[in-house]
């Protein structure tokens, strides 16, 4: 059983991490040379002239993956409380979870069969 105090060391660690990040970034900032130039400040594009906006729309598949992740991740989150108390719930709980897994699989197969994850198409 942990108390709110047990989280204090994490703050230490966070402070150390931030400190390291800051020191190294500032160090590099002050130690390194600085050279400016319009050509130089351009984005890298294999040496050819920059063309168009870099933030071009990308394949909707990535988008789909993100949305599916949100959904499935939430479904997985539902398992956590169950998994922790899994022994207390016993057989009844297991049956309920089987139903839940069943629904999970239904959704999963739907997504699969509808081709949401077919990247080569």
């Amino acid at each position: 059983m942990s108390t709110p105090e047990s989280y204090i060391p994490i703050l230490f660690q966070a402070a150390v991490a931030i400190g390291f990040v800051l020191i190294s970034l500032l160090g590099a900032h002050f130690l390194g040379p600085k050279l400016q130039g319009t050509e130089k400040n351009k984005n890298f594009e294999c040496g050819i002239e920059n063309e168009g906006n870099a933030r071009t729309p990308f394949s909707v598949k990535y988008f789909l993956t993100a949305i599916l992740f949100v959904l499935f991740d939430i479904e997985i989150v539902f398992f956590y409380p169950y998994a922790v108390n899994f022994r207390e719930f016993g057989l009844d709980g297991f049956v309920a979870v089987l139903a839940f897994v069943g629904v999970f699989f239904l959704g999963f197969f739907y997504v699969l069969k509808r081709g949401a994850l077919d990247w080569d198409k």
Binding site: S2, V21, L35, Y80, R87
Partner: protein, 357 residues
Amino acid sequence: MGILTFKLILVFCLFLLALTVAAYSTWAERKVAAVMQDRMGPSRAGPFGLLQPIADGGKFFFKEDFTPANAEKFLFIIGPSLVMFISLITGAVIPWGKSLSFGGQSYALQVANIDVGVLYLIGMVSIGVYGIMIGGWASNNKYSLIGAIRASSQMISYELAMGLCLLAIIMMTGSLDLKVITENQSSGKLWGVIPWVSGMNWNVFYQPVAFIIFFIAALAECNRHPFDLAECESELVNGYHTEYSSMKLGLYMFGEYVNMFISNALMVVLFLGGYNFPGIHWATEHWSENTVGILSILAFLTKTFIGILIFMWVRWTLPRFRYDQLMHLGWKKFIPIALINLVLTGGIILVFEHFFK
């Protein structure tokens, strides 16, 4: 020595350890590559090139800190910082060893002993994606953006399978506390029948499938070969950190290696018995607490380093996946397998509890 003082010291030790391991991982990586390709590897700086990482690190400071003109300045800095920051604080909940005693008081070798350690880990790993995404977006470079999107897409995809594997372990232990998970692996009969050695009741013997999936997912989470599509040189120059240089690039690189270290440590905690070593019970009874503590730390680190070596071995052995293959593997193979594994675990545990107790 107060508990907080000890924790502070532990934090610094851990910080140095992580940085050292990360630094020397770069060295080890080149050495392993060299051995595999029958070369020498770094050898100039110091014996066996052991000072090479220090030279590399120093060099980062003296390179030009370049920022493209049309990048989002603030986000451009936040990206690498976040990656480094997250990877450094992830290790806070991992039990690095059994315990040490100073002045008659026993200190657990864990920075923060919280009862939701697993959730903390999952949360931190999820935030890690932001660092890459922000960096790639802020650069305002096509390669960076594509690399970042690929990286985040890949990471979130494998996170699902990873989470499901974690669940199988949580089901077995019934706790989200990493310390409890570790302790659970120290005693008891293996498979309920083989009592021959203490400290070897590892989860990997019960959950081989989960372990394998977790291992591969960890590779993908770290953007390691064969899943390094986010930065595959032949297609995307340098992926999401194409525009980065100097210490910002250093933070990305370091962050990755720290991540690799932490992933392996996590794997050790979850599947490979954590700091347990064969005969730990006997040792606890007969040897002093500090001896056992140091032994346990060594055991933990040994297992972790072996894991890191295997990561490197994989890197120089397997070719890179295609993106569709990567996604197929993650979504179509691992998720259902991990889920079935989860259900089977639950079923078997229930059957055993019902009939054999």
